[in-house]
Amino acid sequence: MARNCARQDRRHPEDLMTQMTGSGLQIRERFVGQRCFKRVSRARRIRSRLGTGAYLRYVHGMTEIDQFESVFKAADKTPFAYESVAIGTVLIVTDVDATRTRELGESAAEFLRVLGTDVRWKFVGGDDFSGVSNLLEEVESHRPDLICTYRNLRIPAVDFPHSLGVYVDVLTQATTTPVLLLPHVDLADSKLRLQRGTQSVMAITDHLTGDQHLVSYAAKLTGQEGNLWLTHVEDEAVFERYMATISKIASIDTDTAREEIRHQLLKEPLDYIRSCREVLAQLEKSIEIQESVTLGHHLTDYRRLVEEHNIDLLVMNTKDEDQLAMHGIAYPLSVELRDLPLLLL
């Protein structure tokens, strides 16, 4: 064991201490040139004598170094950079006949009037595809910038109330094109709802900082003089679980940890929203940026926000490398808020 330890020590002399203390290194032992196992036993002895917290402070200036590094890391902000969003072609995908497909197209055009009149509208009706792979081929052939469809495509919503349906699932995950889910054509007030346009758009995420793709799309689709809500809900259950663990660690002050971690978790998205506001103002986007950053329960809070602010369009991420988003908040929200237009990026 001592030999292994020494070999490891030659490569990364500080790793042993890092493993033992969970932080940093033990510079002092390095300088005295003790052999590895001696260092470990000594470190253990000192650590057991002083306790882990005091032992870490034993390393000269380590805590102060960490403090200043934290200050500078906190000062390093992620700036928002507007991504140019070009939506030239919109593909309407339905499971109904051509006439109703056109009607939906007209409603969608009215809803998305912020895109202007230069948009080319293409249509794939119920008669144009026979299966999932066939639909994907159709989509590929039209090369759209945006796909407009609705939940439960070719699947009766009554039978599958807690599902978006396989076609929508595939469209969101197997293509790179954003998907706009409109209220189902059979819903009574769907047309009325779409006539309102996109005067109140809400971008939702549990990690807003640095998500310029999400914010740029949401900004692009917010109507003139409309409100863009940038929201960030940090999962309170996860936070409480970590706090419960921290409360069992003697060397960490629980109250301070709770206050400081909560503050920093919420500060970062607020800083990012400030940057978004500045950049979008510079670009002369005539939209009002609203913010909602909180610690809470994702589904409950997003539903509350949607209802409180009379949201017309919800924008969220669903496409990521691990395809986790659809298994996270996006899917339940898509299913719960069935009459609300959703843009799935």
Partner: protein, 527 residues
């Protein structure tokens, strides 16, 4: 103190002196192997202080008289004749009638008044009373302790305003992310921070920012060069003012060098040495300008994302902190000229400013008290006690005799060139392997006791040597130790020998430059 002992003809058996000399060697050796002993400086010095006091008491070399306090110097009085009781031995004393002016004029006269000298030596004090004071209390230089305690508290509270991080980030943004400009900016900032704060705090602030900004700029490979140059410059910056480092405070106050005089005489060297260290660092670590316009634009965009206002909780307190820092520097600089303040000395100024700053956190001052470097303060207290016992054991007198044997003329108004060189290089070598504070305290005491004039370059040799010697090894100074800690924290391999190899060109350049500077400025020009 030592002068008084010599004047009193105090005799101590050579064996006693030898025992205490061995204790002093033991203390210095233990401080040199502080890392190996896993004991803090205060503990090491504390144990030696306890042993020294016990031995001093047992061997009867310490003065245990009561101390007279609260007495007033009688400026005008009639002739006083009487018997003075000194431990059951009556001494006949005659103090002639006179006033303070008469004493002074008599002393200045060509034919001095035969009583004037004895009167000046034995002024008449009235209304005092004796108090029992432990022998180790007057042993401590409380002025030095007050400066260090007050300054560290003041700097700690001021840093809470976000002022230092604000300056650091503004400097980073001004560099536009160009590596060479960044190196120059951080180096100058290190020197300035080392001069105003203390070396360790300066290294921690600039070093931490260096790590974060180089990672941001994807230039981690240059971290070693940046940290080394900054570490070497903390000790150069520590030479800028009287309060920039502890050896400066100890030697400067002992020699009677004022803040302004210190700054005027040391700053040309600091300027020159900083420029050469940056040049050497840029050359050895190949740190240059960015080549293309695109690279410059990218780097500028990256550093622009730093928000210097992030750490500022209150702008009012920020401006207050900045104003107080400016006022603190001005007051410290003018301490010897300001009425009332000059009598209260620099320690009072530091404590006063710390007290004012603490008002902002009046209900939570305990957090700042906890952050005080009690180890450093304890170390000073115990070190002063050890040195006090060494004085009474005539160890310092013996070392002084040895120095007189090695050096040609310690008491010369203008130091001998060879003496200045030997003291400077000797101090540097000594400081590189052990703590420079006992060295500074010991040499300051010896030079003073041997009658070295304030104008002598030997004081400056001690100051330069004690500060710059720390650059030779990673344990030579606390700031180089912090730099190595940062390197290891960020997986930059650095061994003891590796550090020494890299440090030699810088330390050799700085020490050579210091020798030339001392010889030219203090010996040849006699400034």
């Amino acid at each position: 103190m030592l002068t008084n002992l010599l004047a009193a003809g105090t005799t101590v058996h050579p064996a006693v002196t030898t025992i205490f000399a061995l204790l002093l060697v033991g203390l210095i050796a233990c401080l040199a192997f502080e890392e190996k002993l896993h004991a803090k400086k205060s503990v090491i010095a504390g144990i030696f202080a306890i042993v020294s006091l016990l031995l001093g008491a047992a061997l009867d070399i310490l003065p245990f008289q009561k101390t007279v306090v609260g007495s007033h110097l009688l400026e005008k009085h009639s002739s006083v004749v009487g018997e003075y009781d000194e431990e059951d031995h009556f001494v006949h004393v005659e103090i002639p009638a006179t006033d303070a002016h008469d004493v002074q004029s008599a002393a200045d006269a060509e034919t001095p008044d035969p009583y004037a000298e004895s009167h000046a030596e034995h002024p008449l004090h009235v209304d005092g009373h004796e108090v029992g004071m432990p022998v180790y209390i007057p042993a401590i230089e409380w002025g030095v302790i007050a400066i260090i305690l007050g300054s560290s508290l003041f700097v700690d509270v001021t840093s809470k305003t976000g002022l230092f991080t604000w300056i650091a980030i503004r400097v980073t943004k001004a560099s536009r992310g160009d590596p060479l400009i960044l190196l120059v900016s951080y180096s100058v900032m290190t020197v300035v921070f080392s001069a105003v704060l203390n070396n360790v705090t300066a290294m921690i602030i600039v070093g931490s920012l260096t790590v974060v900004s180089l990672e941001k700029l994807d230039r981690r490979q240059q971290l070693l060069g940046f940290l080394l140059v900054e570490a070497f410059l903390t000790n150069v910056g520590g030479l800028l003012t009287l309060i920039s480092s502890v050896p400066n405070i100890i030697v400067g106050t002992t020699a009677g060098i004022s803040f302004v005089e210190f700054f005027v005489k040391a700053s040309p060297y600091v300027l020159l040495s900083t420029a050469l260290t940056i040049w050497l660092g840029a050359r050895l670590f190949k740190i240059g300008r960015l080549a293309t316009e695109q690279e410059r634009a990218n780097a500028a965009a990256l550093v622009d994302s730093f928000d210097e206002n992030d750490g500022i909780e209150s702008w009012g307190f920020f401006y207050f902190g900045a104003a107080m820092l400016g006022l603190f520097i001005v007051t410290i600089a003018l301490t010897s000229h300001l009425p009332y303040i000059r009598d209260l000395e620099m320690g009072f100024v530091a404590m006063m400013f710390a007290g004012v700053m603490l008002l902002r956190y009046k209900s939570e001052v305990d957090q700042f008290y906890r952050r005080i470097d009690w180890d450093l303060l304890g170390f000073f207290v115990f070190l002063f006690v050890v040195i006090y016992t060494m004085e009474h054991a005539l160890v310092l007198q013996t070392i002084g005799n040895g120095l007189q044997w090695v050096l040609r003329d310690i008491t010369a108004e203008t130091a001998n060139p060879l003496d200045a060189t030997i003291v400077l290089i000797g101090s540097a070598v000594f400081s590189s392997v052990t703590d420079n504070i006992p060295l500074a305290a010991m040499l300051a005491n010896i030079l003073k006791s041997l009658g070295t004039p304030s104008s002598s370059g030997l004081w400056w040799s001690v100051i330069f040597g004690a500060n710059l010697g720390g650059n030779l090894t990673p344990i030579g100074s606390a700031s180089t130790l912090v730099a190595v800690t940062l390197m290891h924290k960020h997986k930059v391999p650095m061994s003891f020998v590796g550090f020494v190899k890299m440090a030699i060109p810088y330390a050799a350049m700085q020490i050579t430059l210091a020798v030339i500077y001392v010889l030219v400025v203090f010996v040849l020009l006699g400034l």
